[in-house]
Symmetry: C2
Subunit: 477 residues, 2 copies
């Protein structure tokens, strides 16, 4: 097992240096390569396959709730971006400006989209004339550019891939309903497909999206106790409709402004996958999302019959996403690679196994080794994959529960962030000043006002005035 130790030794232990562990996994598992332009990443096959899996599962969930896909231009003329002042202030400092087409200077500069509220609003202005044209539940899969200063693979980059849904409705109630519905789609997707539990709630005024009436979020807890905002859903009310003049003739024959929402989930979610489930041997992928679910590794593969049997087993497992590692590396090295890449199940098959009609099944998440008759393998794998999926969710939920603390007093609040790593639930008066003070003093931000409220105390954990809400606080990526 010298090979294995060597490969594993190439990644830093997560307890020693979590940040370095993360970077090591991203590179060693073959997810990402750095390009020679700062903040722009190359998604290698293993990394892009994860995004494809996210797209496949999430898109199916979208279509089940009436979402239709479209594609809008990747650029926005400056005058259009300037129409909605909150949005301009939010994004102008970080857009990439195109000033020339070929040799010619453009009459008006255009930016690469940082997000597409402006373009969708401009499009809906023409498309929506009557209540009969409503609602429109459109989404696009694309990449966007934001000129970030600090960048890290998946978590923050100057270009990132995402989906952005943009809807338009006849009433505020319908917009609110859609905003919450899409947040639930995200939460269900995270829980059921990615095995990631999340906290659902509303962002504070300070943390909400520029131009939104309300922003909802799902917040996940990483292995190091830091939070990751994993998906957001915004209700814009009619603010954008007023800025971009989206009006329709309603059933009562009156001209009214429309109501809009938007919601997005990005490649950041791959960062969450890595940091929620990964361990010191590399990635650990939930079976539902894993591009390869079972890796068959032949032992002494040059001996007659071994490779044939491995391929035969692959055929038997045709209902699953299965591969045989036929490379000329040592079995130990192959084990380490399969573990590094997070493939949920390994099947080991060698001459002695073949003689006995058995093989060894190894779970990636627990390292448990199970001897299994070859004939029983399809049934075994069919039962094991959902079991792994469930166990991974349960472990992540346990970690979340064990790293969520309550603080009733300012002292407890400070103590909680000194001693522990995770979310801290605490009461808040509702003022921006307290949020800013907490951030300044403790580098902690409000993650959300959870839908499931509790009353932990009567007063704000910062200023001592009467509390209005319970808030999840944390340090975030």
């Amino acid at each position: 097992m010298a090979d294995k130790k060597k490969l594993v030794a190439e990644i830093t232990s997560m307890d020693e240096d979590f940040t370095q562990w993360y970077t090591d996994v991203v590179i060693k598992a073959g997810l990402i390569a750095y390009s020679n332009i700062k903040g722009f990443m190359v998604y290698k096959p293993a990394g892009y396959a994860l995004w494809e899996a996210v797209q496949k599962h999430l898109d199916a969930r979208f279509k089940a709730v009436g979402v239709e896909n479209v594609y809008l231009p990747m650029v926005i003329p400056e005058h259009l971006l300037n129409k909605e002042s909150d949005l301009v202030n939010g994004f102008a400092p970080e857009v990439a400006w195109v000033t020339h087409g070929g040799q010619e200077e453009l009459q008006e500069r255009i930016c690469v989209r940082p997000t597409s509220e402006t373009l969708f609003s401009d499009f809906y202005k023409d498309e929506v004339q009557s209540y009969r044209d409503l609602p429109k539940i459109y989404n696009q899969w694309c990449s966007v550019v934001r000129w970030e200063k600090e960048t890290r693979p998946f978590l923050r980059s100057r270009e990132f891939m995402w989906q952005e849904g943009h809807t338009v409705h006849a009433t505020m109630e319908e917009a609110e309903e859609r905003t919450e519905q899409m947040l639930n789609v995200y939460a269900d997707f995270c829980a059921e497909d990615l095995a990631i539990p999340t906290i659902k709630g509303q962002k504070t005024e300070k943390e909400k999206f520029a131009g939104a009436v309300a922003t909802y979020t799902i917040e996940a807890l990483m292995h190091d106790g830091r939070a990751l905002q994993s998906g957001t859903s915004h209700n814009f009310g009619s603010d954008f409709a007023q800025a971009y003049d989206i009006r329709f003739t309603d059933k009562d024959n009156k001209l009214k402004y429309a109501y809009q929402t938007s919601w997005g989930l990005s490649t950041r979610i791959i960062g969450a996958l890595i940091m929620v489930h990964g361990d010191n041997s590399g990635l650990v992928l939930p079976p539902r999302i894993a591009p390869t679910q079972v890796m068959i590794i032949p032992i002494q593969q040059r001996k007659a019959g071994v490779l044939d049997k491995a391929r035969e087993i692959a055929q038997m497992l045709g209902d699953f996403r299965v591969k045989v590692d036929e490379t000329d590396k040592s079995p130990g090295f192959k084990f380490a690679e399969q573990e590094m890449r997070g493939i949920p199940v390994r099947v080991e098959i060698g001459p002695r196994d073949i003689e006995a009609g058995t093989c060894v099944v190894v779970r990636r998440d627990t390292s448990e080794k199970i001897s299994c008759a070859i004939a029983d393998l399809p049934g075994k794998i069919a039962a094991l994959l959902p079991q792994i999926q469930k166990d991974m969710y349960d472990r992540a939920a346990k970690h979340l529960a064990e790293h969520t603390y309550s603080a009733a007093t300012p002292e407890e609040f400070k103590e909680a962030f000194k001693e522990t790593k995770g979310f801290v639930k605490a009461m808040w008066c509702g003022s921006r000043e307290c949020e800013e003070k907490i951030k300044e003093d403790m580098s902690v931000t409000s993650r959300c006002i959870p839908f499931e409220q509790e009353k932990l105390a009567d007063t704000c954990v910062c200023c001592g005035r009467p509390a209005t809400k319970m808030v999840y606080w944390g340090r975030a990526y």
Copy 2:
């Protein structure tokens, strides 16, 4: 049927004005909306669904021949673009330049990718060290920007979606094999999924891709007799590897330059779909690619039992992509809409049909009406869809054959393009001068040197010198 006539009257007849017919269909079938930035289009749900169908079918064909998907940055620094001089000269006049990130001027300007040979080469330079790292068969689905002067939906726009495959190999033979293999994938995809026959061949030196050793193409013939280059595959030899320093240690322990290919197919193919199959009632979609294959239209839908029966039929047809048009429009209007959108089969069901236990099935491609017992409908549709697919291909192949002419002499060549619309096969000496003269005199370009050569005469149709190749000539989009 007044409604139907009205809707149909909204599109220009293709015999009267083919260009206007095309634009009318694109707009009336709800494929595209113009954005307020010249040359950038909005893909509406019906338009984007076609691209999704293309992606799904073509991506499956790619994966079957070992292609892996990746994603590279959308921008290229100027110095990187400048490394390969042919490519610079080919693309520099038409790239969009980003000069500012937020408020800051960039130290080096970067362009939005017009194509990604440079980025892939720069990536492969680091990834490829040994023969063990070869080949790499990577592809990306993305959009690119070229600052075109004249733009038309799908056919030519400043931003367009495509896939671009980029491979790297140890030998020239392997690169050549892959170049031809991918051209065959495109041709098979067009023939089998899109019902579009194409001519396979090689581009002349004048028409080949900037920087390529050889460019192969599939050329399709539109209904108006103009050609559309529908997919291209390039062998770069080791030219890019030399410019970007992609070297590997071969089995003989010698350091060698690698060999590369690239191949692309874009949203132009949707233009081909429209112009090969469309008619004066709108789009006609081949069943394999049609987002909706069967539209069920209830007649007198307010009568008791009609809508229920329509929905019941939709359930019976669950193996197909089927919808019920339950809107409150008149049946005539619904027929016209279904025809405009090119949905391959319509099922009409009304009170009298229900009483008789039958329904009316209407083929979009031939307008043939077929009475069918409701109980037999699943079997009928299962047989009909492949029949329509086949008939559409056969009609397109007949049109191609009937509009491909041979010219042995200069007089016949000129006459062919005066009288007729389509491809003209003629002999060529191999000189660029003749190509340029033919283009200047007759606005005709060489489409390809077909793989299937014929000897029509001994001399070039332009200069009278000895001919070396038979070429397909035509007017192209």
